[in-house]
Point group: C2
Chain length 462, copies 2
């Protein structure tokens, strides 16, 4: 329980209206979008409107040794924003301004509470795009997606969030403010703290402003759907597209369980008996899109697709992508609890990974649907379960464990885009060894020696 004095100091800095302490208010900050994690209410929720206010809050927290948890929209999927030790939740939703659009330098300067889609909408007015495209694009904040280094559907061609963050303003654990990077395309001054803080899940410092890179919007795009009666063939088709030097904007896969579920949900005309579909979109200049889409169509056929469908117009295209984007919400309706993983492998290992997931599902008698970003090797095995079924949840944990081990054995990683948070901490030594975990801990303690910033995420205090 927080001392009354702390709340009063926070009110002094932020005004009473920006400091929440009522139980019914606190309840909504006790969890994020991660399934099957213990909820924990914070003691207080504060909403600063400036970097200076954030710095003051951090100083108060340090003075009283109260943990502090930055939070955007809470859409994250590894427990990264849950205030597991109580303390102060720092809601960034009032820091929600796009501060500048710089067309000559192709940058935008934004506050952390800006919703990604809001930035996209503004960028579109200038003929530009901000490429990172997580599934939660319409609700997630920029601050959250930078702190988690979100991926999404366009990673293969365009990269992920870290490739678009050029500069950061950061409040350190000591309450001091630093600015790193900027609008220059090149910058090798000092260690790359912009990269270090991107994806650090708010455990090293609090991001209060960011300069992001924008790029010209592609002139046009075309989507091609390939239907496969065999997982290996689908996997080979992925490899064949890349071997033919085509880098699609998106290259997605859905397995049979996902296809069936999605089709009942949106009626996009997906073939219910297919083992897998690949959904591929190429974009760019119209001549390029024409050449590449014809080539993709041919490759899919050569690799044994039983059906290949090229979207003839925007309406057909949008329906295909609605199907893909509905995968998670459709699956989530089937059972009370949806455990969504993101173990990621080199793209050539996709068929093997799909087989591992299927074997695990059989072994533990679980319903697992798999979809995801095939071009990135970033699959989402999705376990449909019920958190109230203790026996089944035990099997879920064993299954997740085996999926992680499988991904790492294939040269993959624990998390392609959801982060470590609290959910995957125990698996870190599997990927990095003890020496690697020690290095993480040393870095954490260098910048946050008292474990005040989002404690209990990524690294654990001894």
């Amino acid at each position: 329980m927080l001392a009354r004095e702390v709340v009063e100091e926070l009110v002094q800095v932020l005004g009473r209206e920006n400091v929440l302490t009522e139980q019914e208010d606190l309840l909504t900050y006790a969890y994020d979008a991660t399934a099957a994690l213990k909820h924990q209410k914070p003691d207080v929720v504060v909403s600063p409107i400036s970097t200076e206010q954030v710095a003051e809050v951090v100083k108060i927290a340090q003075r009283h040794q109260v943990p502090i948890y930055p939070r955007g929209s809470g859409t994250n999927l590894s427990g990264g924003t849950v205030p597991i030790q109580g303390g102060i939740v720092l809601s960034m939703l009032n820091l929600n301004k796009i501060l500048e659009f710089d067309q000559d330098n192709l940058t935008a300067t934004v506050q952390p509470g800006v919703i990604i889609q809001t930035l996209n909408d503004e960028a579109a007015k200038h003929g530009l795009i901000y490429p990172p495209d997580p599934g939660t694009v319409t609700t997630a904040t920029m601050g959250g997606s930078v702190s988690e280094c979100s991926g999404g559907l366009r990673g293969l061609k365009y990269g992920v969030t870290k490739h678009y963050i050029m500069g950061l303003t950061i409040v350190l654990a000591n309450g001091k403010v630093i600015r790193w990077g900027g609008k220059t395309v090149k910058n090798v001054t000092g260690y790359d703290l912009v990269a270090l803080f991107t994806g650090a899940e708010g455990t090293l410092g609090i991001i209060t402003e960011m300069i992001v890179k924008l790029i010209p919007a592609p002139e046009t795009r075309k989507s091609v759907l390939g239907v496969f009666d065999n997982l290996d063939k689908a996997g080979n088709a992925i490899a064949a597209i890349i071997r033919n030097k085509i880098i699609p904007a998106t290259l997605e896969i859905m397995d049979n369980v996902t296809i069936q579920t999605v089709e009942h949900f949106v009626h996009a005309g997906l073939p219910l008996t297919a083992e897998a579909v690949l959904l591929c979109e190429v974009d760019g200049y119209k001549e390029v899109v024409e050449r590449e889409s014809v080539l993709v169509e041919r490759i899919l056929k050569e690799e044994g697709a039983v059906e290949v469908k090229v979207a003839k117009n925007d309406q057909e295209r949008d329906l295909l992508w609605l199907a893909r984007r509905s995968a998670l919400p459709a699956l989530a309706q089937k059972r009370p609890t949806t455990v969504l993983e993101d173990a990621t492998v080199p793209r050539s290992k996709i068929p093997e990974m799909l087989k591992i997931v299927r074997k695990v599902a059989d072994k533990y008698n679980l319903q697992i649907a798999t979809f995801g970003h095939a071009g990135d090797g970033n699959l989402h095995p999705t376990i449909l379960t019920d958190v109230r079924d203790e026996d089944e949840m035990k099997r879920v944990h064993l299954a997740v464990d085996e999926i992680f081990h499988g991904a790492i054995a294939l040269g993959g990683t624990l998390s392609g885009e959801h982060g470590i948070g609290v959910a995957k901490m125990d698996f870190l030594s599997l990927e990095f060894g003890e020496a690697g975990v020690e290095a993480l801990k040393a870095l954490k303690e260098a910048l946050d020696p008292n474990y005040m910033l989002n404690p209990g995420k990524i690294v654990r205090r001894d």
Copy 2:
């Protein structure tokens, strides 16, 4: 002076032929390509052939508290490899194998002693490229260019070294070996140590293996030269190209001093009286190259170029690029000492930065030629001087100081691609403030508490 015992331990691990102690051998490791820095011979030079040997060398160095300096070809430009406190130079030139080409995942796995051009030549056989393209591409090593995060000519469209490093094997200061990242396009597991070690100049750990990203080679390319009688017009033309949503592969600038010097050196037909030339190359599919080159030509004319020349064939193209690539060697012949800077600004500030450089040259009565990567805002003001002329060198230092202040005032950075090394350490607080320098120091001490790895670079021990 190193204890005899240390050398004997090194010989035990590496064999006598890989341990150099003769003065004439040590002399060639006393400097790098940076002008006007104090030389310092190491006590011993060792050439390991495996990660394990590097780890053993680090353990010996730690046991005896001897500094250790990783070194590639020594082409770096901020004193990063000079063994300023004596000790062990760790030459990586025998770790020079390309270990794997993975066409399905578009990666290569290489040791640090591989020359960048060697990787390029191998990649070309597979129709792929490794885009980072520093001026020293034919001599610099992969390890050096990753440790310095080299930039070069293709940064605008393709990014810099850090955008192509997917995985690293690192020997830490405690002699332990960690592996980070891998062949997955997405990876958010733990802090991004791949990014942190890229550009860390060997001060945080020693890179012994790297997985790099390759991309399909562009189908074709076309170069366009724009001649300007006015710096502002050249600057506006740069901005106009970007505003028209064209991202050229390269967009270079040379000022009058550079043009005159280069023309006498290579006879490429550059106009001797021009205030500036812009050299722009677009690449990609042939249809794209056609569209974009026509547009670039039109924009250059609209922005007031007095002459626009499109290279009609490879021979004409190669001559133009020979001219650009000869800028530094040509300038270096004019005076005994060439002080090459790389202060970098947002690209919209190029005209202002060029004027600052010109004003500084006048004020301190120095000959400064400027050329560089205009599309990146990454200029190379090059001071032609003589290190033996004490009075002139004083003015050189004052000029460099003023150029740095100017770049930072324009929202730029101390170094776009040459790194901090010993040459720019004293200016770091100008860019980061004291709080930022403290953060750098905290990170250094977290991973190398005894300052054993490349000491005296980037951060200074108190």
